[in-house]
Amino acid sequence: MGDSATTIIAIFLAAILMFVFPLMTMADKTDDTVKLTVQTATTEFTNDIRSTGLLSQQKYDNFILALSSTNNSYDAEIVVQKLDENPAKKASGAYVKIGDNVYYTMYTTQVLESLPLQLKEGDIISVTVKNTNNTIATQLRNFMFKVTGNESKAITAQSSGIVTKTTTK
């Protein structure tokens, strides 16, 4: 009797070790690779906008396409901070200009509504990507540990920087 209990436990253990463990490792690795793809897409998207000053529909579509090629769904937040030099421009005198400039912010919906968005030197763009679905790795981890909350995302990427070129295009 004792022997068969050990066998059952051994079979369970073997099943976990032979299937679930490799599956989890593989799923984790896939997530890592996906994360790389997402980070690459995000950084390239941001750097491209930074050096050309133009956020066009085509660039945005390509970015979303690159994200969805990973078979996950994402929430891509684009925040554009536009430099408003006007408050500093109102008067001239013997003061130093540094610190007088103001930024106003456009969030994702506003940005997408105003595509193609032409930016100028000094604007700041920031892109944050999070996945909205549960990847296999997250599902497995949730199943195994039952500890991760809903907000824990396996794949995130963030990139931001100052725009270096004013575009007329």
């Binding site: 109102k90 001239s92 007329t168 295009k169």
Partner: protein
């Protein structure tokens, strides 16, 4: 064997495999992440460097002069190394030198050529220089170490190409720029049996024999020039005004420098060309230290006659400021030069920049195949391609100045060839500079492939290209580059850089759609005529600094900041940038599309004569007054570099 045993053996086999695999994949991922990180760091440092260059040049009235430019560039490059070291958290003692191991070259592209900052062997050969004691100097003492590898700017490389055609007796060089300005030097045709040498430069525009709006048309009766239906008449003059501190002065921009007239409406005066000249007025410019400099233009000497050298020069400056006709002169010169290059309307008594009387150059059939760099040999072009250079033959063979109506437009053959030359000149020199770079970091440096978007920036803007190679990223070594355009440059007047003043005290871009509504000020006095004020070069909206030394000798010197364009009666309030095109971009029409490939096309399609007139007049005026090295011409104008401008204000 029992099941447990099998399981253990399985684990023993699988575990190491999966560990090795995960480490490998992890490394790969880390490498790629590091690469992304380095790309961003390089871009940030390059931008810092451009920002430093802008700060140094914008307030410097001598910023166009080569010496000053070189020191500005060297300062910018020093910022680049510091910023790079900071970004890689290597700042501190000798941080610049640390990063120099990894930077094979930094290139600064300017209006008609570029500088490369890279290490070189500090030895002068074939020059005969001695010290005061008679010892030969065999190295450049500016860089301290003789016969050693030092970092520095290499000689300026022009965007130029040599054209040779033995049938037509052509052997000359054309230097291209970022716009439609070219310089021709060398032999064109024969003068009897001797070669005929030409040295000439100018802007290229199509030539039109009728006033139909497709090029510059010259009406010989009124001596007017028409471009796109807009008339430029010599009697159509303007008086430009700008603030320095809190006072408004009339001024003229001559060879990139602004000369302000401090007019005294009292004392001796006389009238010349319809202008009352007050002889105790003064003319000044803002010196590089920020003070008013009255020394360049001598005061009027009441005891001497009007044609006395100082006096006549004073009157010329006075007239140039009060009756500026830059826009007219720009199109007159463009018309004559373009006609000499590819037009067929004879220009009587035309003299080139070497003061030689010339007949037509007749380059309308100049082919790309005449260019020295054009290789018809397939082996050679393949060789070029392998080293990452795009051979000229890739662009095909065509007539460069095809006598059509589009030489100034983005889609023209000329523009295609101009861009090809710029790319070729940069690629060949850069790849040599980079592959010749030796350092402890990596054995062989190779020029990375620059993307087409970045080439577009290089061919149309002044920019900095930085290269970074050899940094360890784990599995590979880093090899990347970064291109950042300088959007605030005094070096040349871009077609996109003309802004408009509107009736609600704001300024906006030319391609702002709201501009087509009647909110443009037709001219400063509201009376029409040569629409000076509404069309303004964008640099004039930047804040400036000057040192106010006060009226009396005992006054303290005060640093003052001001905007050159202020709304009258507001005590220094400047015009504000429009939220539809300068600060934001909600109403901008895209330029660079199939419908509007360039600003000329956009302005013409607007079909609004007021905007057209303001735009062309502003563009022409700013270009005629901007710095150009060809304006300094000892052959024709002696040692006065402003004479090119002043000669048209004789009385």
């Amino acid at each position: 064997m029992k099941l447990q045993g099998l399981a253990i053996i399985f684990i023993i086999i699988i575990l190491p495999i999966s560990m090795v695999l995960s480490t490998y994949v992890g490394n790969k991922i880390n490498t790629s992440m590091t690469e992304l990180d380095y790309n961003t760091k390089l871009l940030n440092s390059t931008y810092d460097s451009i920002k430093a260059y802008q700060l140094n040049t914008i307030n410097n009235s001598f910023g166009d002069i080569t010496n000053s430019k070189i020191s500005d560039i060297e300062a910018a490059i020093s910022t680049f190394y510091n910023s790079l070291a900071n970004n890689f958290t290597l700042s501190g003692y000798k941080s610049e030198n640390v990063m120099q191991e990894y930077v094979p070259a930094v290139a600064f592209t300017l209006y008609d050529g570029y500088y490369i900052y890279s290490p070189f062997f500090n030895r002068l050969e074939g020059v005969d220089i001695t010290t005061d004691d008679g010892d030969p100097v065999d190295y450049d003492p500016k860089y301290s170490s003789p016969n050693q590898i030092t970092n520095g700017l290499k000689p300026y490389v022009y965007y130029s190409v040599r054209y040779k055609n033995t049938v037509k007796n052509w052997d000359f060089v054309i230097t291209y720029t970022l716009d439609n300005y070219i310089t021709i030097m060398g032999q064109i045709g024969l003068n009897g049996s001797d070669p005929n040498y030409v040295y000439d430069s100018g802007y290229l525009y199509p030539i039109s024999k009728i006033n139909d709006g497709t090029g510059i048309y010259h009406n010989t009766e009124t001596d007017s020039y028409f471009f796109e239906g807009i008339e430029f008449n010599p009697s159509d003059t303007e008086e430009l005004k700008e603030y320095v501190g809190g006072i408004e002065y009339p001024y003229a921009k001559i060879n990139g420098k602004k000369y302000y007239l401090e007019e005294k409406n009292e004392g001796n005066s006389f009238v010349k060309n319809g202008v009352r000249i007050y002889t105790n007025s003064k003319i000044f410019y803002i010196d590089s230290n920020g003070t008013k400099n009255y020394n360049q233009v001598n005061l009027y000497n009441d005891t001497k006659p009007q044609d006395y050298k100082d006096n006549s020069e004073f009157i010329k400056y006075y007239l140039a400021i009060k009756k500026n006709k830059s826009a007219y002169m720009y199109f007159k010169n463009a018309y004559e030069f373009s006609n000499m290059v590819f037009g067929d309307i004879p220009i009587s008594e035309y003299k080139d920049k070497a003061n030689q009387t010339q007949d037509r150059y007749g380059l309308e059939h100049l082919e790309t195949t005449d260019a020295e760099y054009y290789d018809k040999d397939n082996n050679k072009t393949n060789e070029l391609k392998q080293s990452g250079i795009t051979p000229l033959s890739e662009y095909g063979s065509f007539e460069i100045f095809r006598g059509d109506e589009d030489v100034h437009l983005a889609g023209s053959n000329f523009n295609k060839h101009r861009k090809a030359i710029i790319r070729y000149v940069i690629e060949t020199n850069m790849s040599t500079a980079i592959s010749g770079f030796k350092s402890n970091a990596v054995d062989e440096f190779i020029m990375p492939k620059i993307s087409d978007t970045d080439w577009e920036t290089i061919q149309n803007d002044i920019c900095e290209i930085s290269f970074l190679q050899g940094l360890n990223m784990g599995l590979r070594k880093y090899n990347g580059y970064s291109v950042v355009a300088n959007m605030l440059t005094k070096d040349y007047i871009d077609e996109d850089d003309i802004y408009f003043l509107t009736t609600d005290n704001t300024y906006c871009k030319t391609n702002d759609e709201t501009l087509n509504r009647p909110n443009v000020i037709p001219s400063k006095d509201g009376l029409g005529g040569l629409g000076y004020y509404p069309g303004i070069w964008k640099i004039n909206f930047e804040r400036k600094k000057f040192l106010n030394e006060g009226e009396n000798e005992n006054d303290d010197t005060q640093e003052e900041f001001y905007y050159p364009l202020q709304i009258k009666g507001t005590g220094g309030t400047s015009y504000l940038g429009s939220y539809t095109s300068i600060m934001g971009s909600s109403n901008i029409t895209e330029i660079g599309t199939n419908e509007y490939p360039d600003m000329y096309t956009y302005v013409n399609k607007l079909n609004n004569p007021t905007i057209k007139s303001i735009y062309y007049k502003a563009l022409a005026r700013e270009r005629w007054g901007s710095f150009n090295v060809n304006n300094i011409n000892y052959e024709i104008y002696g040692n006065n570099s402003n004479e090119y401008f002043l000669k048209d204000y004789k009385w």
